[in-house]
Symmetry: C2
Subunit: 260 residues, 2 copies
């Protein structure tokens, strides 16, 4: 497999996962081979996801389970990005989120705390959400705690259709607290891409971001100064391109089309 | 007790409950006596609340428990108002709310239904909220169901501080569904006041609404064409008046100040 000439100039490929590499628990046809071929051509490959329900460890396990050649240090999930964003700003956090987020926060040296002690409310997708968790979060916010979300995605796709995402939970807290989040770390924020570039010593001009969403992947890539390729194996359809505020540099049927 | 001359001309008094008649489980000093005195002067007294956790029956019991002279037919809560709003529009509803709301919907002949059958999602304060309830509601909305809220209050006061209100839950669903509610029935919508005027044959010019909130009670009263008195025993402070979009006709220390 040989890279098309327009892609050969990039030394790093920043790949979104859901909709680019897999859908749910199914790898997208040709995607494991594409990742292997990128690495075989000496390219750096990094994996990105806005979903904060798993830690980097969790995503590494999923990547490998679905047949992708991935190593520790190559995974960037919004749970990790949120932990990095927070670690020099606060110490005690109140979490509305799942185990993967908790794991990353603890790895970053942050302490889980109750409504009366936390300096920050961290919001990710939480399928165990209860009214009590929202109430505790609001109590923190009423005390002046920061409000930080892993990502603002209003929904996520499931086998049964769309389900509420971290962005929906965030909207409830923003409404109750009467203020907007202090930071939404995931895409389209550039933070996660910039973190990866910094940690791997990559200059923006060398990297291509590959994603299936215009409003997060492509927009985030552009904000980070990266070239962006849209694949049509996930959320975005070709017909969405016309009204997109930010356009990708390339449009591909699937990640397989990086190659001739 | 004699009504002040400026209030004697009104034949009906539409009283908000929380912050006007009580705070939590404590009657506001002088409020039970004021209600009794209004009725003794031949005035019609009606009770209003945006809170949808109790039915009219539930509020009647609370009014009496706290020493207020109240009769069936005098209570207007947003659960009842939502049921009236819905009863000629849909038949099957998916409820995110508490027992009081369910009771009023059933009394209005509406059927509780699951995500695949409901024609409308009805949102009230739900202290038993779970992620699963939000997910079911979103599934209805994805099928095109109406989205109706009892009220848009982002918070409610509790002994432990502010807690998330129906408006916060509504915000989560609006974010997930990517659209606004089709109706928010409670104040500042005029519907609940208009319903009471209609059911009791009161003309707007005859009635005074008494409330503790500028953005719901006073605003709703003005939209319904009513005179409005703000009391300072609840949410609003005198200093809030200056930047209020809609001003009350009267400002009272407490409901007791209707009298000389």
């Amino acid at each position: 497999m040989r890279l098309k000439p327009e892609f050969a100039r990039f030394s790093a490929f920043l790949l979104d996962c859901d909709g680019v590499l897999w859908r749910g628990e199914e790898p997208i046809p040709g995607a494991p081979e594409a990742v292997r071929a990128l690495k075989a051509s000496g390219k750096k490959v990094l994996f990105f996801t806005n979903n904060a329900t798993l830690s980097r460890r969790g995503y590494l396990a999923k990547l490998r389970r679905l047949g992708f050649d991935a190593e520790p240090g190559e995974v960037y999930c919004s749970a990790y990005a949120a932990a990095v964003w927070l670690r020099n700003r606060v110490r005690r956090v109140y979490v509305v989120g799942e185990e993967g987020l908790v794991e990353e926060l603890k790895l970053a040296g942050l302490e889980l705390a109750g409504p009366e002690e936390a300096e920050c409310v961290v919001v990710g997708l939480d399928r165990g959400l209860t009214y009590g968790k929202l109430e505790g979060a609001l109590r923190c916010l009423s005390r002046g705690a920061l409000l930080v979300a892993t990502n603002g995605d209003p929904t996520l796709p499931t086998e049964r259709g769309l389900a509420p995402g971290a962005g929906a939970i965030l909207a409830a807290l923003e409404a109750a607290a009467g203020r907007r989040a202090d930071a939404v770390v995931g895409k389209p924020n550039a933070f996660m891409y910039e973190l990866a570039l910094r940690e791997h010593g990559i200059r923006p001009g060398e990297a291509l971001a590959v994603g299936d969403r215009l409003d997060t992947d492509v927009e985030g890539a552009k904000r980070a100064g990266l070239a962006a390729a849209l694949v049509l194996t996930g959320a975005a359809k070709l017909s969405d391109l016309e009204r997109a505020r930010v356009k990708p540099d390339f449009v591909l049927g699937s990640i397989r089309d990086l190659f001739e």
